[in-house]
């Protein structure tokens, strides 16, 4: 039997960054394939290239033998590809049923009345995905899981040969995951080809016939879920290599003065739970790592601490609650977050970015700090006059950390500094962090999915899994107790 979807040598560049390089795979009718990779691995880019949301720079995408690479999205959709979006943007004034009817409409300008047949078909689809009871309600009155069902319903309505599902289970509870698995499995029974795009193998293992793993735009492994989980490259990508630990030299009073105390916080994104009853604490001078796969809630946790998202529960800083303060006021207390997307000022030079970070310091002190940072990251000294956007990913990350350090943080929050970086860069970053740790009294809260990167520096480790803290302990115990179940 020939493949419904055939991707061959797919190539996509964004400026100088290669997001997908020579990706090839195929999916047969009735087959469910997982495409996995950490953030920045290029899996979403591949999905968007198949759907036509992004135009590939090279390679071919064939649907039942028809070359569709470079076609506009709506033509690819009509050729038989459907995409189940992770975040839906439902219309506010239309009912659930009307949304499904929308998906059933042909692309025709002369259709001024809804065919009763269409309405009947929409009702059948609503029943199939479990929305029958709520089909006359407006989207905003429904829980998150029902909105995800609506996205599935729209894909079913289009009856595509190939179904792409973006992070099928993100934000769902265990019971809902089971429901969704059944619905996705029903695509297989109907002879569709299904591609599940997700961060990790674990999420999709029970459902898929085959898994393709990507890292840094490359195809790194392919096989059954078990094979891919055992694959050396994949383990290195997710866990790093061998886990090594090196406790920080004990310093007088380290960790004894409580600095940050996060208690029972919960965060909702619309209706999706992003954090559930999470408590962590960080003492003065400690280096604490929060490890967890992408989507576990690390960034949300940091954003809550920095006051960027509303939360329930309390965040105390030196015994004072931070709730109700603006992000700016929180930053001025000394909590500086270095976000995962770096947020550099791309058109400004390296030096200007650093000067901005130190703009509140007296001039001599700023000069001194910059000199110290150039010692920590020598490459930045050489690149001083260059626009930040022209730096490589690793250099950008170093600049982001340096800029955060310019603000003389009392607590430095590093959100996934390894995102999308090659192993050799990781080593440089790791050395810089180690120097920082050994030579200063800085307090650091690090969020990472790469355990090898997160562990060596840490005094204490939290494991965040699917919105909850599931483990806490020192890095030496992590390998024994939590390492095996991590992937």
């Amino acid at each position: 039997m020939t493949a419904l979807l055939e991707v061959n040598g797919l190539q996509k560049r964004f400026g100088g960054v290669v997001a997908a390089s020579n990706i090839s795979f195929s999916i047969k009718a009735g087959e469910i394939v997982g495409l996995i990779g950490p953030n920045g691995s290029g899996k979403s880019t591949v999905m968007k290239c198949i759907m036509g949301i992004e135009k590939p720079n090279g390679g071919s995408v064939k649907l039942s033998g028809v070359e569709v690479a470079g076609w506009p999205s709506h033509r690819i959709a009509r050729q038989g590809v459907g995409l189940v979006f992770q975040h839906s943007h439902p219309l506010h004034r239309q009912t659930i049923l009307e949304h499904i009817i929308l998906a059933l409409l042909p692309d025709n300008l002369l259709m001024l009345r809804t065919d009763p047949e269409v309405r009947k078909r929409a009702e059948e689809i609503a029943a199939r995905v479990g929305l029958a009871g709520v089909m006359h309600r407006l989207p905003r009155t429904l829980p998150f899981a029902d909105l995800r069902r609506l996205e599935l319903a729209k894909a079913i309505a289009r009856n595509p040969k190939v179904v792409l599902v973006d992070e099928p289970f993100a934000g769902l509870t265990a019971g809902e995951v089971a429901d969704f698995s059944k619905l996705i499995a029903s695509f297989r029974a109907d002879g569709h080809a299904v591609l599940l795009v997700d961060h990790n193998v674990k999420g999709v293992a029970a459902l898929v016939d085959r898994v393709i793993a990507m890292y840094l735009g490359e195809h790194v492994a392919e096989g059954t879920a078990e094979e891919v989980m055992k694959n050396e490259t994949v383990r290195r990508v997710y866990l790093g290599g061998k886990i090594e630990t090196a406790a920080r030299p004990e310093r007088e009073g380290k960790g004894h003065t409580p600095l940050l105390d996060v208690r029972n916080i919960g965060v909702l994104y619309g209706k999706a739970t992003a954090l559930d009853d999470v408590s962590i604490h960080v003492g003065e001078g400690e280096f604490v790592s929060v490890v967890g796969l992408n989507g576990a809630g690390k960034t949300t946790l940091f954003n809550a601490i920095s006051g960027l998202v509303p939360y329930s529960g309390t965040v105390n800083w030196e015994g004072q609650p931070l709730a109700g303060r603006t992000p700016g006021a929180i930053a001025r207390t000394g909590i500086v977050q270095c976000p995962e997307n770096r947020e550099l000022f791309g058109d400004m030079s390296v030096r200007e970015n650093l000067d901005l970070g130190g703009s509140h310091l007296p001039i001599e002190e700023a000069e001194k700090t910059i000199d110290w940072l150039f010692g920590l990251f020598p490459i930045l000294k050489a690149r001083q006059a260059q626009a930040a956007r022209t730096l490589s990913g690793g250099e950008q990350q170093m600049l982001a950390i340096a800029r955060a350090l310019m603000m003389k943080p009392r607590l430095l929050i590093l959100d996934e500094p390894t995102l999308g970086l090659a192993p050799v860069i990781l080593e440089q970053l790791s050395k810089a962090l180690e120097t920082l740790r050994q030579t200063t009294k800085i307090t650091v809260l690090l969020g990472e999915q790469n355990v090898t990167f997160a562990l060596p520096h840490a005094d204490r480790v939290y494991v965040l899994e699917h919105t909850r803290i599931v483990w806490e302990g020192d890095p030496a115990r992590f390998a024994r107790e939590a390492g095996a179940g991590y992937l």
Binding site: M51, G52, I53, P72, S73, H74, A77, R78, G82, L83, F85, S88, H89, L91, H92, R93, Q94, E98, I101, L102, A103, L105, D107, L109, L110, M111, L112, R113, T114, R140, K154, R158
Partner: protein, 305 residues
């Protein structure tokens, strides 16, 4: 339920307006005649903004092209009014397409800025060619729609009801649904197989058609075409305020907003310059605190979106 509620609001209001000439004088009828044309401007604008999600900062570009095309044909070649109206509407559609085809490729604020620049260009062309267009003074028209107020009122009223009916019906049809989806999330709409650019372009053409036609009718009511009444940026700003005031994505709300805006401006006229200030302040308050407008509050009591 929604349909019933809309009907219950609209039907009595229309009945009152239809019977109005039997009860009020020419002054009020004249005012409402103007308001009805503005209502069509605002409804056309809402189709584009509320449904297709594109902010057209230059509604008076489309209005002006329609009005001046009709005016020139009537002034120089003495074409009959119906032919002038048809050509005015057609010219607005063509000009709109010339503007929209390249502009719709742009995203975000750039589409809006393009439409704004178009108004300034049109205004300049008219003023610079004063010998032909009458420039700032305007262009006299040999023909008018009617001389007495009641007839003019009914022309405008019928025109508003028919245009409003078509625009409202369109917004509630499957095409309107696709348009809303395209406006809200173009990527997702395209992934469902809809040609987003095509739908937006058609929405722009329909908006241009009614704007141009209303512009042309307005000048035949006034007997003269001038930059100040159909092209000026201020005209466009009023249209936008009317639509937003009445309630985005309701079509009918735009008409209510337009009638309110013209009416309030007139009632407050004794205040002189202050009148404009008061109307603007009311508009600002509504936009800031009730962004879904008059009708948005009424039809969708849950309020904000």
């Amino acid at each position: 339920m929604l349909r019933n509620r809309t009907f219950l609001i609209v039907a009595p209001a229309l009945l009152v307006m239809a019977l109005l000439p039997f009860g009020v004088g020419g002054y009020i009828l004249g005012l409402l005649t103007l308001a009805f044309y503005y209502a069509v401007f605002a409804m056309s604008w809402d189709l584009l903004f509320g449904f297709a999600g594109e902010v057209n900062f230059g509604p008076s570009f489309l209005i002006g092209v329609g009005a001046y095309t009709a005016a020139l044909l009537n002034h120089y070649w003495l074409w009959p009014i119906p032919a002038c109206l048809a050509c005015g509407a057609l010219a607005a559609v063509i000009a709109g397409m010339i503007l929209a085809v390249p502009a719709l490729r742009l995203s975000g604020p750039y589409f809006g800025l393009t439409t704004l620049v178009a108004v300034l260009l049109l205004q300049n062309v008219i003023v610079l060619n004063a010998g032909i267009t009458g420039g700032e003074i305007g262009l006299d028209l040999p023909d008018v729609l009617a001389v007495d107020d009641t007839t003019n009122y009914y022309y405008a009223f019928a025109f508003m009801v028919v245009s409003g009916g078509i625009l409202f019906g369109l917004s509630r049809s499957p095409v309107g649904l696709i348009l809303q989806a395209s406006g809200q999330d173009a990527v997702e709409a395209a992934a469902l197989g809809f040609n987003v650019a095509k739908h937006k372009l058609v929405a722009f053409c329909i908006s241009a058609f009614f704007s141009g036609l209303a512009g042309a009718m307005l000048i035949f009511y006034m007997g003269t075409a001038s930059v100040g009444t159909v092209v000026d940026i201020a005209v466009g700003v009023n249209v936008i305020i009317a639509a937003v005031l009445g309630g985005r994505r309701t079509i009918l709300g735009a008409a209510i907003g337009a009638i309110f805006l013209i009416g309030a401006g007139e009632i407050l006229r004794p205040l002189g310059q202050l009148a404009t200030f008061v109307v603007s302040a009311v508009a600002l308050i509504v936009i800031l605190f009730f962004p879904s407008g008059f009708l948005g509050r009424l039809l969708h009591p849950e309020g904000r979106e």
